[in-house]
Amino acid sequence: MTFIQFALNNVKRNTRAYVSYFLSCMFAVTVFFMYAVVIFHPSIREYEFHNVVQSGIIASQVMIYGFSFIFVLYSTGTFVKSRKKEYGLLTTLGIKKSQLNRLLILENTMIGLAAILAGIAVGALLTKLFLMVFSAILGIGDILPFHLSLRAIGLTIILFFVMFELNTLAVVWTLRTNSIMEVFRGSTKSNRKPTFSWFISVFALAAVLYAYYLAYTADITTIGARMFPILAFIIPGTYFLFTQLSIATTSIFKKNKFFLYRNLNLLTISDLAFKLKENARILFIVTILSAVAFTSSGVLFNLFRSVEAETVRFVPQAVSLISNENANLEDFKKTIENVEAQFQDKFIPYESMLASTIPAEMESNSPNWDTTPIMIYSYSDYQKMMDLKDEEKLRHPKFSEAILLSQDLVNRFTAKVPDSLTIKVGQTNTDLAIHREASPLSSSISTNVQLIVSDKRYEQFIQAADASSVRYNYVMHIPNAFDYATETEDVLNRVNTEIAYADSQADFYLMMRQTMSYLFFFGIFISVLFFLAAGSILYFRMYQDIDKDLKHYYSLYRIGLTSKEMKKIAGKQLALLFFLPFSVAAIHAGFAFKALQNILVSNVLLPSIFVYLLYFAVHFINFIIIRNIYTTKLNKVM
C-alpha cells in the first residue's frame, strides 16, 4: 500500500468525521463564492456606487473571508481533536513525525480541494436560486442576470487554497508542540467544571447595556461617531455574555436544590451548563452573524421602504423651476408654458403658481452666518406656496421680523442663528429680528436658506434691489407625484438650463430608488448568507457532538430514562442553543432599528417586525428539521 492509498483509505473509513469536516469547509467556500459572484458581476462593477458603499461592499467580502477562516480553523481543530487518538496510535506504531505530517497535509489538501470545487458548484446553484427568488418576491425586475465571472472563481480558488494550506500548517504545528501523551488522551479531558467570574459577567452586561444606550439615544448627528463605539462595546460584551454570564445563570439555578432536584431539571440544567460552556464561542459567532443579518436586512428594507418619505423630507416641493440669473422673464414664461403643455399631454394632474424672489446675502458677527446667500420671499407668496401643498402656514412676520427657513436636517448640523441678522439687498443693509423654522421649500442651486418677510418689507427690498436681479420661482404641486416620477424627470430634463434651474422630487426619488434597490439587494444577500452560515454552524456543531451525546443518552437509557423524557431534555437543550443566540441577536438588532428610527421620518416598526417574522419562520423550520434529525438518532440508542 502506498502512502497516498493509505491516506485515501483513511478518509474512506472515518466517514462521519470527514463528512462533517468536508461539509463545513465546503460551506465556507460556498458563502464566499456566492458573494464574490455578485460583486464581480459586470453590472455591479460598472455601477457607480458612492464611495462609502463601495468600501462597504469590499469590507463585507473581507469580513466573510475572515469569518470563513475562523470557521474553517475551528472545524479543522475539532476534526483533528476527534482523531487525536488515531494519531497517537499511529505514533506508537512507529509512524515518523514527518510521515504523520505528510499524512495530515495530504488529507487536508484533498479535502480542501474537493471542498473548493463542491463549494463553487453549490454556490453557483444557490446564487441562481437566490436571484430568481429575490426578483420574484420583490418584483424589482431582473436586477442582475445570472453570470459567473472567472475572476470570482479564480479568487475563490486561490484564497481558499491558501486558507486550507495555512490551516493545515497551523494544525501540524500545534500537534508538534503537544506531547504524544497529550495526543493520546485526545478529547477526553474537556469536562472541567464550568466556571465564571462575576466581575467579567457584570462588565459584559454593562458593556452591552451601554451599547444599547448609545444606539437608543443616537440621532442623525451622532450616529456616525457612535457606530464604532457601539460595535466596540457590543461585540466583546456579547462574547463574555456567553462565556461568563450564561454559566453564572446556570450556577444560580444549580444553587436552588429544590428546583434542581425536581424531575428532569438536574439532568437538563447540568448538561446545559456544559453545553453552554463548550459552545460559548459558537453561540457568540452565531449571535453576531444573526445580528448582522437582522440589522442589515432590517435597515435596508426600512430604507428601501422610506425612499418616498425621505424624498419629501429632502425635497419638499414636487417641482420648482427657478429662473436663471441672466434669463429674461419672457423666455422663462415660455419655458413654463412648454412644461405645462407637456404635463397636459401626458395627463399629469398638477397645480402651479409663480412666486418672485430676491437673492441676497446676510451679514452677521457670527462667522457661521456671515455672507450666507439667501432667497427672500414675500409672506403672500409663501402663503400661496403653502396653499398649493395644503400645508399649515407660519404666522405673519412683523415688519421688523423675518422667518429664516432652512432644512430640518441642516438645522441640526449648523450653529444657532443669532437673534438678529443684517440683510444686504442691493446697496442697503437692513437689520431684522430672526426666527428660525424648518423649511417647507425645496432648496435651490444657490442656497438652501430662505427668508420670509412681510409684504411691506418685500416691497421695500424690491425697491432697493437691482431690477434685473429679481428672480422667479415657478412651483408645481403634483398629487401622487411618485407615480409620475419618470415622466416628470423626462419633462424637466428638457428644460434649458440657461433659462431655468429645475429641482424636483422625481429626480431625487429615482436616484434614491436606484441606489436603494442595489443596496437592498446587497443587504438581503449578505443577510441571507450570514443567516445561512449561522444556521449551518449550529447544525455542524450538533453533528460533531452527536456521538458524545448518544453515549450520554445511552447511559441514561440504561438506568431507566424514557424516550419521552430524553426527547424532552434534548429538545429543551437544542431549543435553547438555537433560540438563545437568535433572541440576543434580535434584541441587538432591535436597538439598531431604534437608532434607525431616530434618523428616518417614516415608521420602522412594521417593516422591522416583518423582517423578524421572516427570519423567525426560517429559523424555526431549521430548528424543527435539526431537532428531528437529532431525535431520530436518539431513538436508535433505544
Binding site: K189, N191, K193, K257, F258, Y261, R262, N263, L264, N265, L266, L267, S270, D271, A273, F274, L550, K551, H552, Y554, S555, L556, Y557, R558, I559, G560, L561, T562, S563, K564, E565, K636, V637, M638
Partner: protein
C-alpha cells in the same frame, strides 16, 4: 420462590449485510429472591447479552422474562423504562456515571427521576454513601475520584431507590484487586443484610466466589452451574476448575454497542 424467570431466551443479532449471529440460544434461568447469582463464561459467550435481556435493557428475539410476576418482555419501551428506574439497579464495568454531574448528584439521579422529595433524597444519599464509605466525595466530580470510589458510587446509585434486583456487568473489570475486594464486599453486604437479589456478570473467579451460585455459559448456551457450599475457598477452586474446562479467553474487553 423465584423472583425472576427466563424461558426460552434467544437473541439473534442481525447486521445490515444480512449476517445473523445467534448470541443466545433458548436459554432458561430462574433466580430466587435474595439470591446472589454469578454469570461466567469466555469472552463473547453471551454474558452481557443475557444480562441485558434479563435487565430489560435489550429485548429478546424470542422467549420471555418474568420479574415479580410481570412478564417484562411484553411491556412497551416506555413502561420498561419506568420499570427499570423503579425496580432495578445497575452497575457497569464503565461505571455509567454522568460526567456533567457531581458524584452525589449521580447517586441521587434515580430519585429525581422517581420524583422524590428533596429532603428524603438527601437523607437517602447520606445513608447509602455512609454504607459504602464514600460520604466524603459526594461534592466531587467524576474525574476527580478513583475507579474504586466511582464503582462504589455506581453501587450507591444502583441501590438508593431500594430496587428489587441489582444487575452488575463486570463491576470489577476496571479495578485493581484492593478496589475489587471493597466493591465485592459492598455487594455481599447488601445481599446479606438487605436481601437484595443480585445478578452479576464477571470473568474474575475471585469476584465470582462472593456469589451463592455461579452459572457458566458457552456459545450462548448453559454450560454448567455450581453452588457455594459453606467454604468459599472450595467454591473458588470449583470455579477455577470449570473455567479451565471451558477454555477460551476469559479476559473481556467491554465495549458499548448500539443496535
Amino acid at each position: 420462590m423465584p423472583i425472576l424467570t427466563a424461558a426460552n431466551l434467544t437473541k439473534i443479532y442481525g447486521s445490515k449485510r444480512g449476517i445473523h449471529h445467534e448470541a443466545l440460544h433458548q436459554f432458561h434461568l430462574s433466580v430466587d429472591k435474595g439470591e446472589f447469582l454469578g454469570i461466567m463464561g469466555p469472552s463473547g459467550s453471551g454474558k452481557t447479552t443475557l444480562l441485558n435481556l434479563l435487565s430489560t435493557i435489550d429485548t429478546p428475539t424470542s422467549g420471555a422474562v418474568t420479574i415479580n410476576q410481570t412478564t417484562v418482555t411484553n411491556l412497551t419501551k416506555n413502561k420498561l423504562a419506568t420499570f427499570r428506574r423503579k425496580e432495578t439497579g445497575f452497575i457497569f464495568q464503565d461505571y455509567n456515571l454522568l460526567e456533567t454531574l457531581t458524584v452525589g448528584e449521580n447517586i441521587m439521579l434515580p430519585l429525581t427521576l422517581n420524583k422524590w422529595k428533596v429532603k428524603e433524597m438527601t437523607k437517602r444519599l447520606k445513608l447509602v454513601t455512609e454504607q459504602l464509605g464514600i460520604e466524603d466525595i459526594t461534592e466531587k466530580r467524576i474525574f476527580e475520584v478513583s475507579g474504586g470510589q466511582l464503582q462504589r458510587a455506581a453501587i450507591a446509585r444502583a441501590i438508593i431507590h431500594d430496587p428489587t434486583i441489582i444487575y452488575a456487568d463486570e463491576p470489577t473489570g476496571n479495578l485493581d484487586s484492593k478496589a475489587s475486594r471493597q466493591v465485592m464486599e459492598s455487594l455481599q453486604f447488601l445481599n446479606q443484610e438487605k436481601k437484595t437479589t443480585t445478578i452479576m456478570v464477571t470473568h474474575d473467579p475471585f469476584a465470582a466466589s462472593f456469589c451463592g451460585r455461579v452459572i457458566f455459559i458457552k456459545d450462548g448456551r448453559m454450560f454448567n452451574e455450581i453452588h457455594k457450599g459453606d467454604n468459599r475457598q472450595r467454591f473458588f477452586q470449583d470455579i477455577l476448575n470449570v473455567q479451565s474446562l471451558l477454555g477460551g479467553n476469559m479476559d473481556d474487553f467491554h465495549s458499548i454497542r448500539f443496535k
